[in-house]
Symmetry: C2
Subunit: 212 residues, 2 copies
């Protein structure tokens, strides 16, 4: 997660995070994802970074201050990255492909942060910034619906229920970080391409179409 | 979750759970799903049940003993329920539909338990029975792959990569408990039917096919 700095939402008017802060956030993120927020102590994080607890506390007042920038940034960053990746003048099908591929790239890059974030979203007793996160999530879903709607209007897609089709797409993508193996044979973008092909053509055979 | 008893995996040779145990498990399940395992105390669960902590401890030695039967049972039960719902002699497409619809019904019925279970799977420091759960999950994925494979062999499906198509289906289904609203306009089974239709026919328009 070399670009973790790009997705963080740091408090206050502080400048960009230092190398040390990024190291702490990166190690903490991986630990939270694999052991749960409550299963990780500040001591664990410091140990993983090879620093003392005192040094860690110099950068972050508590464990919560480490979690917050990870969790807040991820939903917003996903949306902004995907939005930027969609070519304004392309065909709806091309836009859908870009939406899916860029989402997969994002999950590949920020896999741990996404897992932490989606877990905390559900189980956080303090519902950290849940409202703002829901706003970004809704914006992201709306973007996908606009692409699908445009495709239907221009005759590129046949979809009865735009909302449901959107949820199918998002479910397939959002579940990816749970099983995707970075050491596996396919990069995340290639998986998204395959998903796109299946979604566009369907898995049902078409005996009435002659293929060359 | 009136049928919670059906999915529980209780320790030891004890008989079926008592009404009181089911009440405790049901309330705890909802609390764990909404606030996280570590965000809920034994006192919270007892309070929600309208009983004393002493009464709760009479039935369960600790919070862990409440979580375990919920988490262990869910992956196995999902697989067994779906397996039973698939007609042995049906066409592959009909089997795929049954797989999807029964999964959705299961998620509707055991929504909280599934959310708890899938959260704990990732964040549990003790990796409670993760190995057994992975075995059941793999069996479940294999069942879907067999259906898709059969469909390809019999000419009902056109699928290049069975594993990827299966993951698309499972992602769409497994993400459902995260957004499904029991008070919404559609029952979970109707949503699964829509997903099935989209998956079979695809969203891409087919100008070359004449529909009647």
């Amino acid at each position: 997660m070399k670009n973790l700095a790009d997705i963080l939402e740091l408090d206050g008017p502080a400048g960009p995070p230092t190398e040390r802060m990024l190291q702490i956030l990166t190690e903490a993120c991986r630990l939270f994802a694999t052991r749960g927020f409550d299963g990780v102590s500040v001591r664990d994080i410091a140990q993983e970074c090879g620093i003392s607890k005192a040094t860690l506390y110099h950068h972050f007042p508590d464990k919560d201050a480490i979690l917050r920038p990870l969790v807040m940034g991820i939903t917003r960053s996903l949306h902004q990255r995907v939005l930027r990746a969609i070519p304004a003048e392309a065909e709806p099908a091309e836009k859908l492909r870009a939406f899916m591929v860029e989402s997969a790239r994002f999950f590949e890059e920020y896999r741990w942060a996404f897992i932490v974030s989606s877990t905390v979203f559900w189980t956080d007793p303090q519902a950290r910034q849940r409202r703002q996160r829901i706003e970004w999530r809704d914006r992201h879903e709306a973007l996908l619906r606009i692409i699908l709607e445009e495709g239907v209007q221009r005759g590129a897609f046949r979809i009865e229920d735009i909302g449901m089709a959107g949820r199918l797409v998002l479910g397939a993508l959002n579940w990816m970080p749970k099983w995707y193996d970075p050491k596996g044979p396919l990069p995340a973008s290639a998986i998204a391409e395959q998903f796109y092909d299946v979604l566009l053509a369907g898995v049902g055979a078409r005996p009435d179409v002659i293929t060359i």
